[in-house]
């Protein structure tokens, strides 16, 4: 019983710490985002290229990934806050190789208000060099990977909102 208690305390510390510690990591701004063309839960084709001119958060996630579940409400908040600020922004959350049934059940429960894409064969997971979840890529307005982030985070934090706002307002200099 004592061991279980200590384990729970340790697990809580590690989990909380992982949410707090993760932060956006700047890339050199020259990496073009790999192709991303997948179906959403309604079976409609969605292409990353269609969102040029917007900052796009591409997230690779899974239903069994606890940080993914925890951070999704903050992703809803991020979308709302950027909409209010009239910042061109889109979230594409790519599920890693699970069935439509599993994902739909998760969506009904957690209620993400952004686009969920289905990578049932995991082809995009590999093309994007993703080895863990959640793996995040912030794509600039010209389709280049500008920031990456591994792990759970509070997406509606002031720091992240400022970073995305700045990215949306950048001139073409860095991404031409």
């Amino acid at each position: 019983m004592k061991h279980l208690f200590l384990y729970l305390i340790a697990a809580m510390f590690v989990f909380t710490n992982s949410l707090m510690a993760a932060e956006l990591k700047k890339t050199d701004g020259e990496i073009a985002a790999p192709m991303l063309k997948l179906e959403n839960l309604k079976g409609e084709a969605v292409d990353l290229n269609d969102f040029r001119g917007k900052v796009v958060l591409v997230q690779f996630w899974a239903t069994y990934c606890t940080p993914c579940r925890v951070e999704m409400p903050s992703m809803n908040e991020l979308t709302k806050k950027l909409e209010e600020a009239k910042i061109p922004f889109k979230i594409l959350a790519v599920n890693m190789g699970e069935s439509k049934q599993e994902v739909q059940k998760f969506v009904d429960e957690v209620k993400p208000e952004f686009t969920i894409l289905m990578d049932t064969k995991g082809e995009n997971v590999q093309a994007w060099n993703v080895f863990a979840a959640p793996s995040n890529f912030v794509i600039g307005t010209k389709g280049k990977v500008r920031y990456t982030l591994f792990g759970g985070v509070e997406w509606d934090s002031e720091d992240i909102i400022s970073t995305i706002k700045a990215l949306a307002k950048e001139t073409n200099k860095k991404e031409s």
């Binding site: 060099n129 993703v130 080895f131 995040n136 591994f150």
Partner: protein, 253 residues
Amino acid sequence: MTVRLFKSVIMILLFSLSTLVSASDEVISVNADDETEVDIRIFKADGNQLLVGFACDQGSSISEEKTAEALAKDGIEVWMPDMLSAYMLPKVRSSLSDIPTNGLLNILEKAKKTNKKVYMIASGPDTELILRVAVEWEKAHSDSPLSGVILMFPRLNKQKPEPGKPPEYQDAVGKTRVPIMLLEGERTPNRWGIGHLTNALKKNGSTVYAKLIPDVRGYFFKRKDPNAPENLVTSQMSGLIKASLFFLGRAHK
């Protein structure tokens, strides 16, 4: 009153004794180095395979104990050295890197003296430990190779994953020639790294088999919230290990 109390004490003692006897055959102590003795819990068997599992607490968790008992019944001897207690290390992940390789080599030497085929098994970050030991064993005993290692849900990254970049592994990865069975849960993001890790493990000539266990998450056998497939696989863990030993045996043919 006194008689009733006496009977109760006797019953409790008998029950405790029967639990101990059924849990394992014996506990032996091995000198890991000049100053350290390691207790090894042994599940004896008559077959020619011996599996050394580096679990904490001599594998006292229920599923590990049941698995060891089932393996022993099928002729596979299981040794569970309690490394953390021996070196007075706290039972946390970071302690594993503090376990000296020499101590484990002495245990393997003792295992080898049984003339059985010796295998090692570990899960999660402990897998680094057995790869490190395998490398050192080969350096010191090139004429007496280990028969294989089983890596369950290996966590061998050197640092936190970085999206868009392939992982960097611990130094022991890709340094041994020992046959390796890699088991990973289907419902874990690490499954996407299996191909990359397999190639890294093969670099020094190891034969590497990699298998995905359907419908289970990482560490499923230690979870407090197992689902039906996880309960099923946990109850059949000895079968999974036996199948792994079968594959590892093929590597020598």
